[in-house]
């Protein structure tokens, strides 16, 4: 079976995200006002093959924990979609 994992990695809420802050502060240059906060993370699409949904979840979890996110600074969540050939 083939799956598509849509993974979202975000910096922890309590961490300063200087990239997001810079973007938020510059919204007024676009004449957009009232922007209270911007936080920037990563959206990762991963296609994978696995015998079952459980196996696919195990693979995605391992990839997230070991490489795609650093759990000291980031959280991750994902949605898994079966895809046809």
């Amino acid at each position: 079976m083939k799956f598509l994992a849509e993974i979202e990695v975000m910096p922890h809420k309590e961490l300063l995200d200087p990239q997001g802050k810079t973007v938020a502060n510059n919204m007024k240059n676009l004449d957009i006002h009232g922007v209270e906060d911007v936080r920037i993370g990563k959206h990762i699409l991963m296609r994978l093959e696995a015998a079952s949904e459980a196996e696919a979840r195990e693979k995605v979890d391992t990839a997230c924990k070991k490489l795609l996110a650093n759990i000291i600074m980031e959280t991750y969540e994902y949605a898994l979609h079966p895809i046809s050939e």
Binding site: L16, P18, Q19, L67, L68, N70, I72, M73
Partner: protein, 236 residues
Amino acid sequence: MKFGVVVFPGSNCDDDMVHVLGTVMGQPVQKLWHKDTTLPDFGPGDCIVLPGGFSYGDYLRSGAIARFSPIMESVVAFAEQGGLVWGICNGFQVLCEAGLLPGVLLRNTNQRFTCKNAYLRTATTRSPITRRLKPGEVLRIPIAHADGRYYADEATLEALQANDQILFQYCDAEGRLSEAANPNGSLLHIAGICNTRRNVMGMMPHPERAAEAELGNTDGRGLFESLLEAAPLPAG
């Protein structure tokens, strides 16, 4: 003491380090390719250096992909046997990603790549790279990084202090800690730390760029002189 300098794709301070260790300090040194899977020539009395640079283009997070290079498994085993491991700049980031050192290095608070001389306060002399320095000694050593903001949770920061694991802190020319003298927003002004066993060391500043009179700065030399005096740790 023999030195091995690991070369990852994107390392760019490896030659500077080989030059200082070999030509300036007169020590046996060799480059180690990241695809090597063993460290046959190195024992607990030796030192492996992870140099600065942009391993794997800093893709995903600085150091995140290099941490899974084939050689890193041997570097972890070498550290467990008591061998000295020293990571500078990107090397520090790799050591944190690999879990050999606690915490992580985040994007600088000011969002900039900062390349300038920074003042460092020697926070402890109980480490292989600081034993020849004086407690509180102020060094002027270049930094060159975008991801140098040291971060760890409260419990880890408390443990670092309780175990005397902070090697260097950013300070002003007089050795005072202040927000103005903190170039990247590091918690506790941390510029370098070691593990509890004190054989794995990481720091963002570049002492290899400040170890010869020809370069106008020899403040980094004391770290190399300290290292040469380091006695091997017992294995286990």
